[in-house]
């Protein structure tokens, strides 16, 4: 029988890498993932010990989960008082739009 850790890793692994979240993404996520991200938003970040406690995982498993979420672009590592914390990573609207405008620029260059 798959554990919570297994299910969480599976949910993360099938998701595409993003350049940060939008709050709208919280509505699409499976509950297990949305819960921990929402907690991070509410607390403005969490230490790995607290992440492990919230997920009911060992610290080692929680670290693996956070590493995967960082790799996927959902979460970022920040240093707080010389300790590593994890915060939900919201993408900048400027970054989201940059791709559109540079693509338009390329198309216009091709036409001219």
């Amino acid at each position: 029988m798959s554990t919570l850790s297994d299910r969480l890793q599976e949910e993360i692994s099938v998701r595409e890498r993003v350049g940060g979240l939008s709050p709208i993404d919280l509505l699409d996520m499976p509950e297990i993932l949305a819960n921990i991200i929402s907690q991070m938003v509410r607390r403005n970040g969490m230490h790995i010990d607290e992440v492990a406690r919230q997920l009911g995982q060992s610290v080692a498993d929680a670290q693996l989960t956070m590493d995967n979420l960082v790799a996927k672009g959902y979460v970022r590592r920040v240093e707080v008082n010389h300790q590593v914390w994890y915060k939900a990573y919201f993408s900048r609207k400027a970054d989201k739009n940059a791709g559109i405008w540079s693509l338009l620029g390329e198309v216009l260059n091709e036409i001219s």
């Binding site: 939008s22 709050p23 709208i24 509505l27 938003v41 609207k93």
Partner: protein, 251 residues
Amino acid sequence: MSKIISIHSFRGGTGKSNTTANVTAILASQGLRVGVVDTDIQSPGIHVLFGLEEDEMKHSLNDYLWGKCNVDEAAHDVTSHLGANVSGRVFLIPSSIKAGEIARVLREGYDVGLLNDGFHELVDALDLDVLMIDTHPGLNEETLLSIAISDALAIIMRPDQQDYQGTGVTVEVARKLNVPKLVIVVNKTPQVYDFNQVQSQVEKLYSAEVAAVMPHSDEMMALASAGIFATRFPDHAVTALYKQVAAKLMA
């Protein structure tokens, strides 16, 4: 420990800003340090209730989001506008009322992550007991962030079929985002309605606590946002209901 409270509604005109202002005034009169952020950047208005004139706004939330200032530099101490008997403090972070700045937001959007950081920085920088977030109606990135970050959420609705349907959407979203405390405030209720029946109906429909059923009030309409009702009419029955809402949000 400080608390973040959002006041939201699916539709406009339900009384969010008035509810935010009145709850804020009541909490401040109880000795609390309260911050109020107007995140309704597209149609700001709560500054009117607090008597903050446009030429008094040194900085706005817009300035912070565009990197022109720290978020606490956009905070205006409006405690004196509430009258003499306020032992707490109220800090308002207004949104700009300048047409060009509103248009810029519509055109360019802004950094939701920065808004998230700003909320938390305000609590720390101003040593707030409570941060109230007055939101734009409906669901968008900013209102979803406000709901997600909140320890308590008040959904304001009128006893109107459009509001009933829309409030259901908002309740569903709030549950998905695991908001720890959710209450509904039924506002502008016609006096001919059975208020107990309205309360029961809403509680049953959404399986959520109704903090208060507020009557439509001619005194409120006549005040017309020229001030905060609870400070003008401290002994009014409507003010007693606002105190009830404040107590339930802080519980």
